[in-house]
């Protein structure tokens, strides 16, 4: 066993335990909003955190598994939207890789891009599997846009993007602020972070 292999093994397990806590951060994020009553979801802190620290593949896994576990413990419908959570993590990792998580204005733009990309994935799922609704309050927005003469597809797209854009910008900015200031002891070994901290 060479040193490189041992170090790689260590890195892998570090990312693994990171993803596990990130999944739980995603799940309890909603609990924070129960206390604060803000019109946002706050359920992707963990996914974006992993995307920044460990890159697109780990970030995608964190998102995907969050929704699968959500499906396991509360609502099986969440599992159908797992691909949406996945692209949040992948997009974050890639945006960070291309240096779009260095300055606060870049982070805001990245939040908007993440919301746009997830909309592209969410809309076909919501339209084809669920007839455009989810059983949540945002269904009123879908009904409203339909009344204005929009097709179901564009009604859902407008609703999904509109309800996600503030959430993803806020989440991205907050996670970035935290990650940027973390002490070395905690970030040691997360190689993807170099693209964010420069």
């Amino acid at each position: 066993m060479t040193e490189a292999v041992a170090v790689r093994e260590q890195f892998n397990t570090r990312v693994l335990t990171l993803i596990a806590v990130a999944i739980v951060i995603n799940i309890v994020g909603g609990q924070i909003n129960d206390a604060l009553h803000l019109p946002v979801f706050l359920d992707s802190f963990g996914t974006i955190l992993v995307g920044l620290l460990a890159g697109p593949i780990a970030g995608g896994a964190a998102g995907l598994l969050t929704n699968l576990i959500w499906g396991l413990i509360t609502n099986p419908v969440a599992a159908a939207f797992a691909p949406v959570a996945l692209v949040i993590g992948v997009a974050t990792g890639l945006l960070a890789r291309f240096g779009l998580f260095r300055q606060i204005w870049q982070v805001v733009i990245s939040g908007v891009i993440i919301a746009a990309v997830l909309t592209v994935v969410a809309v076909p799922i919501q339209v084809y599997l669920f007839g455009g609704v989810t059983g949540a309050g945002s269904d009123f927005a879908v009904a409203y846009f339909s009344q204005l003469g929009q097709t179901l597809f564009s009604s859902v797209a407008l609703t999904v993007f509109g309800s996600n854009v503030a959430d993803k910008v806020i989440t991205a900015v907050i996670v970035w602020l935290i990650v940027k200031r973390l002490p070395e002891r905690l970030t040691h070994g997360f190689s993807h972070l170099k693209y964010t901290r420069g």
């Binding site: 093994e9 260590q10 892998n12 397990t13 570090r14 693994l16 335990t17 990171l18 993803i19 596990a20 806590v21 990130a22 999944i23 739980v24 951060i25 799940i27 309890v28 994020g29 609990q31 924070i32 206390a35 604060l36 009553h37 803000l38 706050l42 802190f45 896994a61 598994l65 699968l68 576990i69 499906g71 396991l72 413990i73 609502n75 099986p76 419908v77 599992a79 599997l129 669920f130 007839g131 455009g132 609704v133 989810t134 059983g135 949540a136 269904d139 879908v142 009904a143 339909s146 009344q147 003469g149 179901l152 806020i170 907050i174 996670v175 602020l177 935290i178 973390l182 002891r185 905690l186």
Partner: protein, 252 residues
């Protein structure tokens, strides 16, 4: 408890995949019947599980079914839409589509919840270990389930710690936004400390030293279950193929 609830968890998962793909082939009303049938069968096998299953299914599917029926029937402008009241209209196509979608979703929800409620996560993960699945995957399912409660308690503890040094819960949207930071920041940093420690603990206990692991408490399995799983999964592929073909035909 009956034999169906003692099946190897992997066999139950295979049955779930088969049944979920079967639902896609059913006509709208039949999918509702199928959901009812599965519920009745589970209730018959386990009178304790039945009511719990029904309650969970209703919690999940009622809001969705109501929403999809309303939006499809009244709000969307299908070709056969007839004016109803003001800007609202009634569409039979929309009604049927709503009924079909909600029937399918309800069936899949009933199947998933029946599988989950009858399968403790611990036994599912033991079955995956026994079958030689990658330890990393089982870890990523097990660990969040195990640490969830301690994280929920920590969110409370963080909130109380900030309030007892004068932070007011509520206030203007901007203040509440700052509150998000006050609450999420300790949660993330404590989680990183915990994850860092745990990664070392896992490594020193030989986690992933080999590409598979064994299990102290074996889960019963049998050769016939292996063949049943194979048959169910193969049949699922066939069913999904048929569904895709029908869908493509309808688009052309």
């Amino acid at each position: 408890m009956s034999v169906t609830l003692e099946l190897n968890p992997r066999t139950k998962l295979a049955a779930l995949v088969w049944a979920a793909s079967f639902v896609l082939l059913l006509p709208p009303l039949a999918s509702w019947g199928f959901a009812g049938l599965v519920l009745a069968v589970v209730w018959g096998i386990s009178p304790q599980l039945g009511p719990r299953l029904l309650r969970r299914v209703l919690e999940v599917t009622l809001p969705f079914s109501a929403a999809v029926l309303l939006v499809q029937t009244i709000f969307l402008r299908h070709p056969d839409a007839e004016p109803l009241y003001g800007p609202l209209n009634f569409s039979r196509i929309g009604f049927e589509r709503g009924l079909s979608l909600s029937g399918r979703v309800t069936s899949v929800v009933v199947l998933s919840l029946a599988t989950l409620l009858s399968t403790p996560p611990a036994s599912l993960l033991r079955a995956l270990d026994a079958a030689g699945w990658p330890p990393a995957l089982a870890y990523l399912i097990a660990s969040p389930l195990l640490i969830l409660e301690s994280f929920k308690a920590r969110v409370q503890a963080i909130r109380h710690a900030q309030q007892t040094r004068g932070w007011r819960l509520g206030g203007s949207p901007l203040k509440r936004l700052r509150g998000v930071f006050l609450l999420i920041s300790p949660l993330i940093t404590t989680a990183l400390i915990e994850a860092d420690q745990r990664s070392h603990v896992l490594a020193q206990r030989g986690f992933r030293a080999f590409p598979r692991r064994t299990t102290l408490l074996p889960v019963p399995d049998a050769a016939w279950q292996h063949w049943v799983r194979l048959a169910l999964v193969s049949l699922s592929f066939v069913q999904l193929g048929v569904v895709s073909w029908i869908w493509l035909q309808s688009k052309i």
